[in-house]
C-alpha cells in the first residue's frame, strides 16, 4: 500500500510523459488524475492507521541499496510515521485536487499531457522527500521537486520571463542545496551515518561534541543544523534566498497552488521537523531560525501590501506564512509548525486556485488594477475566496485561526528575546495579512469594473471540474483546524505524534503545554490585529478610495523601496550574477588564453619559431658572411689561447 501510494504518481507521469501522444490528452489526464486520486485515498488510510494505531504502527519499507561506499551506506526506503503520514495526506490530497482542477484550467493549452506528466512527477518527488528514511534520499526528493518546479515554471517556455524565472528558481535553490549537501556531510562526520534512526539514537550523546569547520572549532550540532537550515531557506523561500518565489508565479496557476504554496515550499519546514531530535540539541541554531523566520514573516507581509499582481500578493503571503512556521520551529514547537503547514496547505491552495479561477474568468488578466466589480458574475469563486481569506486572516473557527494562534502563543511562551521578537513580528504580520487579503478581495471583486468591456463580457463562472476541487479544499480550510487541533497540538498530541517529533521538556513540560498558560490577552492579540486589518482595508479601498494614493505619496521613498521588494534582485544581480559572468570572461581571455597558453604551448612555439628564424638568418648564403664569421672565430680562439695562458 505504501508503495502504491508513492509510485502511482510516478507511473502516471511516465505514461503521460512518454506515451502522451499515443493515449491522447484525455487519456493522459485520466491516467494521472486516477493515479494521484488513488494515492490520496491510500494515504488517508495510511494516516488513520499510523496516526491512531499507537507507537507500533510506524513502519519502514526498505526497497534496495542505493549507495554503498565503506561505512557510508544508504538505501532506498519508505519511512511511514505520523509526521510522514500527515505530509502524505497533505501532498496527495492537494495534488489530486490540483490535478482535477488542471483538467479544466489547462483545457485550451496544446501541451496538456506534458503538463499532467510534470504535475505527477512533482507529486512523486515530493512523496519521496517526505517518506525518506535518510538524508540522502530526502536530498533526492528535494532536488527532484526542484527540477519539477523548474520544468513547471518554465512550462510556457517561449516566454522569456518564464525562462528567467525558472533558471532563477533552480539556481537560488541550488545555493540552498549547497548548504544542505554540506549539512549532510557534516551529519555524516558527526554521526557516521545519514540514516534517521542512527542519527536520532545518538543525538543526545553528541550534544557537546565539537568539530573543526573551516579552521574553527565549533559546536558540531549547531554547525550541522545551520547548514541544513540554509537548505531549508532555499526551498522555503526564507529571507535572503526568497527571491525566486515571487518570480515563480510565471508558471501556470495550478502549479503555484500545488508547488509554490501547499507542498514544495513547505519542504524546509518538514525537514526541520524531521530533524527535531537533532535541532533540540542545537539551541543557537534554533535561535537563528526564530529570528530569520520572524523577519521573513514581517518583510514578506510588507511587500504583499504593495503588489498589484493577484498571484504575487498571494505568493508574498505564502512566504510570510512560511516565516510563521519557521519561527514556530525556532521556539521548539514543531507540532505547531506542522499544524500550520497542514491548514495553510488547504487554504492557500484554495486561494491560488480561486485566483486562477478569477484569472480564467478575466481572460488571463492578473493585475488587480484591471479587475473589480465581478463578484456578482462569479459568485462561486467569490465565496471560495472569502473562505480562503478568512482562514488566512485567522478569523475564529476557520483553519488558520487555530494554527496561527498556536504559533503566536508558543512564541510568547518561549520567554526569550527571540521568542518575543517573533511574537511581535507575528502580530504585525497578522495585521498586514488581514489588510492585504481584504485589499485583494475588494480590488478584485468590488468597486467599479476597471477591465475593458470586451473582457467584462467574457467573465464567466468556472466549470464544475474547477469548482469541485475548490469546494473540497474549502472544506479543509473550514474544518481542518478545528478537527485536527486535539491531535496536532492538543490533548492527544503525544499519542498522535508517537515519537516522530521530539521536543525536549523544560520545567513546565513541553513548549506546547507552556503555551496553554500564557496571559489572557495573548490569544486575543492576533484576532484583534486581524480584525483591525480587515476594517482598515475596508476604509482604504471601499469607503475612501483616495486614501491609498495619498498614503503612498506621503511615504514615497519607503513605498518605492518596499514595492521594489527591498531591492534584493538588484543587489544580487550586482553582487553575484554580473561579477560571475565578468570573472568567467576575464579568466578565459586573461588567464586561460593569456597567461597559460602564452607561457605554455603558444609561448614555447613562439620561442622555437624565433630561434629558428634567427638561426635561419645566419645561413644567408653569402660567402663573405661565412668568411667573416670564420675570421672572427679564428681571432677569438687565438685570443683565448694567448690570454688564457
Amino acid at each position: 500500500m505504501e508503495i502504491a501510494a508513492i509510485f502511482l504518481p510516478l507511473a502516471g507521469a511516465f505514461i503521460a510523459g512518454f506515451f502522451g501522444r499515443l493515449i491522447g490528452d484525455r487519456g493522459a489526464q485520466i491516467v494521472t488524475c486516477a493515479g494521484v486520486l488513488i494515492a490520496a485515498v491510500l494515504s488517508v488510510i495510511l494516516f488513520i492507521k499510523v496516526g491512531f494505531g499507537g507507537p507500533e504502527a510506524a513502519r519502514t519499507v526498505e526497497l534496495f541499496t542505493w549507495i554503498d561506499s565503506g561505512t557510508f551506506e544508504v538505501s532506498w526506503s519508505l519511512r511511514i510515521d505520523t509526521l510522514t503520514a500527515v505530509m502524505l495526506v497533505v501532498v496527495n490530497v492537494v495534488s489530486s485536487m490540483v490535478h482535477v482542477y488542471s483538467v479544466g484550467y489547462m483545457s485550451h493549452d496544446p501541451h496538456r499531457a506534458r503538463f499532467m506528466a510534470y504535475l505527477s512527477l512533482f507529486t512523486f518527488m515530493m512523496l519521496m522527500l517526505v517518506t525518506a528514511d535518510n538524508l540522502l534520499q530526502m536530498f533526492f526528493g528535494w532536488e527532484g521537486v526542484g527540477v519539477a518546479s523548474y520544468l513547471l515554471i518554465n512550462f510556457w517556455y517561449e516566454k522569456k520571463s518564464a525562462n528567467d524565472a525558472s533558471m532563477k528558481a533552480f539556481l537560488v535553490n541550488r545555493v540552498g542545496d549547497f548548504g544542505f549537501a554540506l549539512g549532510i556531510m557534516a551529519i555524516y562526520m558527526i554521526f557516521g551515518t545519514v540514516e534517521f534512526d542512527g542519527i536520532f539514537a545518538q543525538a543526545a550523546s553528541k550534544a557537546d561534541a565539537t568539530f573543526n569547520f573551516l579552521g574553527w572549532e565549533v559546536h558540531a550540532l549547531t554547525c550541522a543544523c545551520l547548514l541544513l537550515f540554509i537548505g531549508a531557506m532555499g526551498k522555503s523561500a526564507q529571507l535572503g534566498l526568497h527571491t525566486w518565489l515571487p518570480d515563480a508565479m510565471e508558471g501556470p496557476t495550478p502549479v503555484s497552488a500545488l508547488i509554490h504554496a501547499a507542498t514544495m515550499v513547505t519542504a524546509g519546514v518538514f525537514m526541520l521537523a524531521r530533524m527535531s531530535p537533532v535541532f533540540e540539541y542545537a539551541p543557537t541554531a534554533l535561535e537563528v531560525v526564530t529570528y530569520l523566520g520572524a523577519a521573513t514573516a514581517f518583510v514578506a507581509a510588507t511587500i504583499g501590501l504593495t503588489q498589484f499582481d493577484i498571484k504575487r500578493v498571494i505568493a508574498y503571503s505564502t512566504m510570510s506564512q512560511l516565516g510563521y512556521m519557521f519561527f514556530a520551529i525556532g521556539v521548539g514547537a514543531y507540532p505547531a509548525a506542522i499544524f500550520h503547514l497542514m491548514t495553510h496547505a488547504f487554504f492557500k491552495a484554495l486561494l491560488f486556485l480561486g485566483a486562477g479561477s478569477v484569472i480564467h474568468a478575466m481572460s488571463d488578466e492578473q493585475d488587480m488594477r484591471n479587475m473589480g466589480g465581478i463578484w456578482k458574475l462569479i459568485p462561486g469563486t467569490y465565496t471560495m475566496m472569502w473562505i480562503g481569506n478568512l482562514a488566512l486572516a485567522g478569523i475564529p473557527f476557520f483553519a488558520g485561526f487555530y494554527s496561527k494562534d498556536m504559533i503566536l502563543e508558543v512564541a510568547y511562551a518561549k520567554h526569550s528575546a527571540a521568542g518575543s521578537f517573533a511574537f511581535w513580528m507575528g502580530i504585525a504580520a497578522a495585521f498586514m495579512t488581514a489588510f492585504y487579503s481584504w485589499r485583494l478581495l475588494i480590488m478584485t471583486f468590488h468597486g467599479k469594473p476597471r477591465a475593458s468591456e470586451k473582457v467584462m463580457a467574457h467573465v464567466h463562472e468556472s466549470p464544475a471540474v474547477m469548482l469541485v476541487p475548490l469546494v473540497v479544499l474549502s472544506i479543509g480550510a473550514l474544518f481542518a483546524g478545528f478537527v485536527a487541533y486535539p491531535w496536532f497540538v492538543g490533548h492527544d498530541m503525544n499519542a498522535f505524534w508517537a515519537g516522530s517529533i521530539v521536543m525536549l521538556t523544560g520545567e513546565h513540560g513541553s513548549i506546547i503545554e507552556a503555551a496553554h498558560h500564557v496571559p489572557g490577552w495573548v490569544p486575543y492579540a492576533p484576532l484583534v490585529a486581524g480584525v483591525s486589518g480587515i476594517v482598515l482595508a475596508y476604509v482604504f479601498y471601499m469607503f475612501s478610495p483616495g486614501l491609498p494614493g495619498a498614503f503612498v505619496n506621503t511615504f514615497k521613498a519607503l513605498h518605492a523601496f518596499v514595492f521594489r521588494k527591498y531591492m534584493f534582485d538588484e543587489l544580487y544581480d550586482a553582487l553575484f550574477v554580473r561579477p560571475a559572468m565578468k570573472l568567467g570572461f576575464g579568466l578565459w581571455k586573461g588567464v586561460d588564453i593569456g597567461v597559460i597558453d602564452g607561457l605554455g604551448p603558444d609561448g614555447a612555439a613562439a620561442v622555437t619559431r624565433r630561434l629558428s628564424l634567427a638561426s635561419s638568418r645566419v645561413q644567408s648564403g653569402y660567402v663573405y658572411h661565412y668568411a667573416f664569421v670564420m675570421v672572427i672565430g679564428v681571432v677569438a680562439l687565438t685570443g683565448w689561447f694567448i690570454l688564457a695562458r
Partner: protein
C-alpha cells in the same frame, strides 16, 4: 573460458577489423559503405566479447585477474603482461561500448576518407583497451603513446577549420607529459629491476626519489585528465574534433589520466601522494571553480561542455587524493559517470551541429517545440551533468565531496560551490538552445532525432539512470580493489612513519562514535 586469452582478444579484435577495412577496394561509395559496416560489426563483436570479461570477473578478488603473461624480452625482464582489476575493468567496457556508438554517430557525419576514419577509430579502441589492461610498463607506455596517433589524426584530418593548431597543441601538451613519464619509468626500472607493474606496486621506492617520480607521472597524467592549469589544450581539441573524436576524447581518453593517477601515483608512490595531497586539492578546486566560471562565459556550446569536463574531472583528482573510501570510490564513479554523460553531451551537440553546422548557441533557440525528443534526451544528460540525485552524476560528485570534506572542510566546502556553478552554465546552455521563441527559419526546419540517433542515445540514457538509481551494482565490482588500495596505502605510510596508526575510514571527531543502533524512540 579460462584458457582463452580474453584480454588480448578484446584488445586486438578491433585491429583485425581495421585490417579488413584496409583490404576493401572498389568504388568510393561502396568502400565507404563497407568500411562503415565492417567497423560497426567489429566494434559490436568486440563489445560482446568484452562482456565475457565482466562475467568472468570475480568482484571479491581485489587483485589482478585473467592475467596473461608471455616472455617478451626476458634478458631485460620485460614481458607481455595483461590483466584487469576492479579499477580498470569498467574502463575496458566503456571503451568497447563507446566505439560502436561512435561508429553510428559518424555514419552520415563523416563524408571524406570514411575508410581511414573507421580505421583510426578502431586502432584507437585497440590502443585504449591495451592501455587499460597492460601490466608491464613498456607495454603500458607503448599503448599510452599509441593512443595519441589515431587521436591526432582524427582531429587533424577530420576536424574543423582550426584543426591543425588544435592537433599540434594537443600533441605538444601530451608529448611533454609522456617524455617525463618515460624518464620516470626508466628510473623505476633501474631501481626495481623489472617492468612488471605488479611488482612496482609493492616496491618501496625511497622517499625523495618518490617525489621526483611522482611529479613526472603527475605532469603526464595531469595533462591527460586534464587538471588545471594543464587543461588549455582540451577546449581546442574538442571544438575542432569531429563528434566521434570528442566522444572518445571525453569519454575514455581523459580517464587514462585518472586511471594513471590511481595506478602509478597512488599505488606505487604512496609517500609522495601523501606529501602532495594539498597541491592536488588546490589544483582540483581551482579546476572546479575556475573552469565553471569560464564555461559560463562561453558562447560556443562545445567549448562550454569541454570546460565543464575539466570541472568534472576536478572532482575525480580531488577524490583520488582524499585517500579514503568515499573519495576514491567517488572518483571511480565520477569517472565512469563522466564517461557516459560527457560522451552523450558531445553526441547531443553533434546532433545539432550535423543539422545546422554551427556551434554558436545564439544560432539556435526554441528547439523544444520542433525537436521534443531531442530536448528530453538533452535534458536528461544536462541534469546528469548537473549532478541531480537519481542520475549517475550525483553519486560520484557527492561521494568525492564527502571524501574530501572529511579531510578538510575548507576544500569540501569550496568544491560544493560546483553545485551552483555547474547548474548555472548548463541551464544557460539548455535555455539558449531549447527555450524562447522558435523564430529562426533554419532552426525551424531541423528534424527531430532519427531512429539511428535514438538507437545510440537509448543505451546511454539507460546507463545514466541505472547508475544513478542503483549505483551499488557498479560499485560492487571495484569496491574490494579500492579497499585494498587504501589498506596498502595506509601500511606504506605507516612504514614510512608519516602517520601513526592505521586510521579508521571515517574522520576524526572529538567524541567517541558509538556503533549505530536502531532507534528505540520510534
Amino acid at each position: 573460458m579460462a584458457d582463452v586469452p580474453i584480454l588480448s582478444l578484446t584488445t586486438f579484435l578491433p585491429l583485425v577489423g581495421a585490417l579488413f577495412i584496409l583490404l576493401i577496394r572498389g568504388e568510393q561509395e561502396a568502400v565507404a559503405r563497407n568500411a562503415k559496416s565492417v567497423a560497426l560489426w567489429t566494434s559490436v563483436i568486440t563489445f560482446v566479447v568484452s562482456l565475457f570479461i565482466l562475467t568472468g570477473f570475480d568482484p571479491s578478488n581485489p587483485g589482478f585477474q585473467m592475467v596473461e603473461e608471455v616472455a617478451w624480452l626476458p634478458a631485460f625482464n620485460i614481458a607481455y603482461i595483461k590483466g584487469v582489476d576492479g579499477i580498470s575493468i569498467w574502463f575496458v567496457l566503456a571503451s568497447t561500448l563507446l566505439t560502436p556508438i561512435c561508429v553510428l554517430a559518424s555514419w552520415d557525419a563523416v563524408e571524406k576518407r570514411v575508410k581511414e576514419f573507421m580505421i583510426a577509430l578502431l586502432v584507437l579502441e585497440t590502443m585504449l583497451i591495451g592501455m587499460f589492461t597492460a601490466l608491464d610498463f613498456v607495454l603500458f607506455y607503448l599503448f599510452f603513446e599509441g593512443v595519441l596517433l589515431p587521436m591526432f589524426l582524427l582531429i587533424g584530418v577530420w576536424g574543423g577549420p582550426n584543426r591543425v593548431y588544435a592537433a599540434y597543441k594537443f600533441f605538444i601538451y601530451t608529448f611533454i607529459g609522456s617524455v617525463l613519464m618515460l624518464l620516470a619509468i626508466l628510473a623505476m626500472y633501474l631501481t626495481a629491476g623489472t617492468m612488471d607493474m605488479r611488482v612496482m606496486v609493492d616496491y618501496p621506492f625511497a622517499g625523495n626519489m618518490q617525489i621526483w617520480l611522482w611529479l613526472a607521472f603527475f605532469i603526464a597524467f595531469a595533462v591527460k585528465t586534464p587538471i588545471w592549469p594543464a587543461h588549455t589544450w582540451l577546449p581546442f581539441a574538442h571544438v575542432e574534433a569531429p563528434t566521434a573524436g570528442s566522444v572518445m576524447l571525453a569519454g575514455v581518453m581523459l580517464k587514462m589520466g585518472g586511471y594513471g593517477l590511481i595506478r602509478a601515483n597512488v599505488q606505487m608512490l604512496p609517500e609522495a601522494s601523501f606529501f602532495f595531497q594539498d597541491l592536488v586539492f588546490f589544483m582540483s578546486i581551482a579546476a572546479i571553480i575556475y573552469t565553471s566560471l569560464v564555461a559560463l562565459a562561453q558562447s560556443d556550446m562545445k567549448k562550454m561542455i569541454a570546460y565543464s569536463s575539466v570541472a568534472h574531472m576536478g572532482y575525480v583528482s580531488m577524490g583520488i587524493f582524499a585517500m579514503n573510501q568515499q573519495g576514491l570510490d567517488g572518483a571511480m564513479f565520477q569517472m565512469l559517470s563522466h564517461t557516459f554523460v560527457s560522451a552523450a553531451l558531445f553526441l547531443c551537440i553533434g546532433v545539432a551541429y550535423n543539422r545546422l553546422h554551427t556551434r554558436e548557441m545564439a544560432a539556435y533557440g526554441g528547439m523544444a517545440k520542433n525537436m521534443p525528443r531531442y530536448a528530453v534526451v538533452f535534458a536528461i544528460f544536462m541534469f546528469a551533468s548537473v549532478g541531480l540525485p537519481g542520475t549517475s552524476g550525483f553519486v560520484g560528485e557527492f561521494l568525492t565531496m564527502l571524501g574530501v570534506f572529511q579531510v578538510s572542510t575548507w576544500y569540501g566546502m569550496l568544491s560544493a560551490t560546483g553545485l551552483v556553478l555547474g547548474a548555472a552554465y548548463m541551464l544557460l546552455l539548455f535555455r539558449k538552445l531549447f527555450f524562447g521563441k522558435l523564430d529562426k527559419p533554419e532552426v525551424k526546419a531541423m528534424q527531430d532525432l532519427s531512429p539511428r540517433e535514438v538507437a545510440f542515445f537509448a543505451p546511454l540514457v539507460a546507463i545514466v539512470i541505472i547508475m544513478g538509481v542503483y549505483p551499488a551494482s557498479f560499485q560492487n565490482v571495484y569496491n574490494p580493489t579500492v579497499e585494498k588500495i587504501l589498506a596498502d596505502h595506509q601500511v606504506s605510510l605507516k612504514a614510512a612513519g608519516l602517520i601513526e596508526a592505521v586510521a579508521p575510514a571515517t574522520a576524526e571527531l572529538r567524541t567517541e562514535t558509538p556503533a549505530t543502533q536502531p532507534a528505540s524512540e520510534n
